[in-house]
């Protein structure tokens, strides 16, 4: 949302470092590979509606991200 995008979703997570030589750094931080998508809203109204549906801190106005 900070960057002005909507419909963010992580659709996949997996330990892609299994078998990598060596694994220790990745395992130290619980590193996982992920796929995610997001979308640029069609207009400010869509972004504002998505913002209002959030329950966490985010920019308060379209102008803050544009």
């Amino acid at each position: 949302m900070t960057a002005g995008l909507v419909d963010f979703e992580i659709t996949w997570k997996e330990n892609i470092y299994a078998g990598a030589p060596p694994e220790s750094n990745a395992e130290d931080y619980g590193t996982l590979g992920i796929n995610f998508h997001a979308r640029k809203p069609v207009n400010e109204a869509e972004w504002t509606a998505a913002l209002q549906a959030l329950s966490c801190d985010a920019p308060q106005a379209w102008a803050e991200v544009n």
Binding site: A3, L5, I16, P21, F36, H37
Partner: protein
């Protein structure tokens, strides 16, 4: 008494980029050498790439994949779409995308590692695809006009940016309204200490 220089609070961007160029330039030269991450010919299958996507993709592109996921699992790219591959490496994802969006769609692969761009360009020539171009550039300043792209894909690159918001903001700039991000990257479940964030080896591998 001599003054002690203040400790750096964050990694220097130029230094980090040099370290990334060195590490991934080595991957471009010898993908099978062994690194702190998976790379090489077996990786696409591990990440769920469909066999038909790889048809016609030269081995030199497939072998140089150091991705962390599968941008194409997030949705099909459609004929006619304009696509940016941010951090294209040896070109595998750009070339797959070019096949999906041809003949009228276009793909621009962007990377800052000369050895990877060389590999990608050579592979593109072999495919005969005319709707793909590889450009030397950085993620925070993609070499396209505002609103050019239908889709931005990226695979294992966003985590290499010290300012990830800046990278995503430029993807936003490059996207058309309703344009999509389809990104593969990494996440951590335990906080990385501030001191570790200054370790270039942890950034690059």
């Amino acid at each position: 008494m001599s003054e002690v220089a203040p400790r750096a609070e964050k990694v220097e961007l130029a230094e980090l980029r040099d370290a990334i160029r060195a590490e991934y330039g080595a991957v471009a030269i010898d993908p099978e050498a062994g690194y702190h991450f998976n790379a090489g010919r077996e990786l696409p299958a591990t990440l769920g790439y469909k066999r038909e996507w790889l048809d016609g993709i030269p081995e030199e592109s497939i072998a140089a994949l150091v991705g962390t996921g599968n941008p194409f699992a997030l949705g099909a790219l459609k004929p006619g779409e304009n696509v940016i591959d941010m951090g294209c490496g040896g070109g595998i994802d750009s070339l797959i995308a070019a096949k999906m969006v041809c003949p009228t769609g276009k793909v621009i692969g962007v990377d800052m590692i000369p050895e990877m761009l060389d590999r990608a360009r050579a592979a593109a020539v072999k495919t005969g695809l005319s709707n793909v171009e590889f450009i030397d550039g950085v993620a925070e300043s993609l070499p396209v006009p505002d609103g050019w792209a239908d889709v931005v894909i990226s695979n294992g690159v966003l985590n290499l940016l010290p300012d990830k918001v800046a990278g995503i903001q430029d993807m936003y700039r490059a996207l058309k309204p309703t344009g999509r991000l389809q990104i593969a990257d990494i996440t951590v479940s335990r906080a990385v200490p501030d001191a570790a964030k200054l370790d270039l080896d942890l950034w690059t591998g």
